[in-house]
């Protein structure tokens, strides 16, 4: 009898799910019953969906990561190619309308003329409206190897004319296109967050798990280690350790060296949460039941404990990504992290370090905008996940 009712109710829910109408009170009641049948992850998704900022942030982040992956195709040129005639050129606007020829569906950019400012003796660029360069999709340009797999010369957008200026975000003091460099920099900066957090996660899970599950001496040692790491101000410690990395290391070695430094310092937050959860779950009846049933330590942890706090781990890991990205940016910005031939957002911001350059070439601050957006978006997602982490609340 009871089972029949349940089946009937779940059917109502299924129908509701398809029709997507949940407004009337009658439907809300059905919805509430639907919750009783949904899995934990499904409940979390429903709750996450309600967090509007997080729902905006997810597509933005996806877009950022996709453009980091396909940066070589998306960028108009190469991060190393220099345009000697266009050093410190300001960003160009894309136009559709011209006074002489009127409106054109094909967008175009104007040429640029360099002049010496007679008062300040600085080189300045002005738009040269006599020259127009129409923009095309899939133009031939500098050769590169797409995703490192096969060589090609096709870029998503450009003028197709190697001498024409096309700098949507301006150029730096060596005449390199900033947009291209930001897109390439996204590869290092954004991946650093993910890879760094993965290693932090591994360390935090391992040490926090050991600490919480075994207790006693192991616990005391690991807890004291955490106390110790919290006592040392992180940024000076990062700086000291990063400065100790050998100077002759390649970019790849530096990248992983820095990831190791970050993880070695940042695992403490995660370890504390894991330990706390372990301590409380250890006392639960289901753990005792599993142990009486003869399950091994590893099996109890993996099969019975881990699933009940994995959502919290995801939340903390998501919250740790932006701080890892910022850490890399900060160190590279100071000149202690990634070094010049490698391009990351922090390396790019090095150019904007002094007031003089920022005042004259404010477009050099563009990487900061990308950093701020990606960090904010990660925080929104983390916030949404935190609200959703315990869907039974």
């Amino acid at each position: 009898m009871i089972r029949k009712v349940i089946v009937k109710k779940s059917r109502t829910w299924l129908r509701l799910d398809r029709s997507k109408t949940v407004s009337s009170p009658e439907h809300t009641q059905d919805l509430r019953q639907g919750f009783e049948f949904a899995s934990q992850w499904r409940l979390m998704w429903w709750k996450f969906r309600k967090h509007k900022l997080a729902m905006i942030a997810v597509p933005v982040l996806l877009l950022l990561y996709l453009s980091a992956i396909f940066c070589d195709f998306l960028s108009p040129t190469l991060p190393t190619s220099r345009f000697a005639d266009y050093k410190n050129a300001p960003p160009q606007g894309i136009h559709f309308y011209d006074k002489e020829s009127g409106f054109s569906l094909r967008p175009f950019v104007y040429g640029m003329k360099m002049e010496m400012n007679k008062e300040t003796f600085r080189r300045q660029f002005t738009t040269d409206k006599s020259k127009k360069y129409p923009l095309h999709l899939f133009v031939k340009g500098d050769p590169y190897s797409f995703l490192g797999l096969f060589p090609t010369t096709t870029h998503l957008i450009g003028t197709g004319n190697p001498d024409a200026p096309f700098f949507l975000m301006g150029t730096d003091s060596l005449g390199r296109d900033l947009l291209t460099r930001i897109l390439y920099g996204a590869r290092i900066s954004l991946s650093f967050g993910i890879v760094g957090v993965l290693l932090t996660l591994a360390l935090g899970l391992l040490l926090g798990g050991l600490s919480g599950y075994f207790g006693g001496f192991v616990d005391v040692v690991i807890q004291r280690l955490i106390d110790l790491l919290i006592c040392i101000p992180t940024i000076p410690l990062w700086m000291a350790l990063a400065a100790a990395l050998p100077q002759d290391w390649t970019s790849v070695q530096l990248y992983f060296g820095m990831i190791i430094i970050f993880s070695a310092i940042n695992w403490t937050d995660l370890a504390r949460v894991v330990r706390g959860k372990m301590l409380s779950l250890r006392e639960e009846d289901f753990t005792l039941a599993a142990r009486l049933g003869g399950a091994s330590n590893l099996r109890i942890i993996r099969k019975h404990m881990l699933p009940s706090f994995s959502s919290y781990i995801i939340v903390i890991a998501t919250m740790a990504i932006p701080s890892t990205i910022l850490g890399e940016t900060a160190l590279s910005f100071l000149g202690l992290g990634m070094q010049a031939p490698a391009v990351s957002w922090g390396v790019l911001l090095q150019d904007a370090q002094n007031l003089q350059t920022v005042a004259h070439e404010p477009w050099l601050l563009w990487p900061a905008a990308f950093i701020v957006v990606s960090v904010l978006m990660f925080n929104f997602v983390g916030d949404g996940l935190r609200d959703a982490a315990d869907p039974y609340k």
Binding site: P233, P236, A240, A243, A244, L334, L349, L376
Partner: protein, 332 residues
Amino acid sequence: MLTYISYRLLQMIPLLFVISVIVFVIIQLPPGDFLTTYVEQLRLSGSDVDASTIIQLKAQYGLDLPLYGQYWVWIKNIILHGDLGMSIQWNLPVSEVIGDRLLLTLLISVISLILIWIIAIPIGIYSATHQYSWLDYAFSFVGFIGLAIPGFLIALLLVYFVFNLTGLSVTGLFSPEYEGAPWSWGKLLDLLPHMIVPVIIVGLSGTAALIRITRGMMLDELSKQYVITARAKGVSERRLLFKYPVRLAIHPLVSTIGWTIPALISGEAIISIVLNLPTTGPILLKALMVQDMYLAGSFLLILSVLTVFGTLLSDILLAVVDPRIRFGGTRS
């Protein structure tokens, strides 16, 4: 209470020992020792170093000893003589280079801390009592930005916008005429307006965090039964609020000092580099760049030790405020 404090003090000794070992290891990380770099530098600048000076310096810093011996000499010099070693870059004892700068770092951090309290607690209480009002949303939004964007980026953008709008540069802590001058009233008065920008930027993320914590605590407290009971008995809203929930919400003030201080000092280090303040940050960076490791190590050591004492202070304060901790502490 005394037993609790002495217990905590005893606990600090191994902590300080391990911190000093870590710092010593960091000092030793770059290849070669400081003496070879020092002698090399003097040779490059043309002045020859006679062998007796080298031998004397070697003995003073125990460089001919094995590593643990070197550590022993280093820590003995610090504890007994307050001698932190030589800075090769400045050719001065480290303590002379550090002095003033450390004071300014501490000054900025402490003022930021006080500012954080003054700003965050009332806002947190307001946001909790006016949950979902537009001001609550506004504070949450500002808090989000304060938490998400690091101080050095805010500093960078602020420097740009202030310069762009007013043509003023907000970098530095002193007007040019006071820069190298000894301390005086004039210099102190000159310092105050210059501190406003750094203090605000350093305190921003801490403020955002504390607003969130206070708001959360207040919301938890306000939904408790004693509040409902008091309201049912006709206690006025103001009295109801300040009698119990606010007192509890002030609790994180004390309990978060432990991690707020290292965060402030950390943040100050990098913000001061962007704003070009004469504090520890820029000199630490420069020391690391040229591998002036005694100087860099000393900064790390002193900042860490200060943090340990700050945490101790907050734990003692917490024990004063909260008897549960006091008694729990003595039992274990």
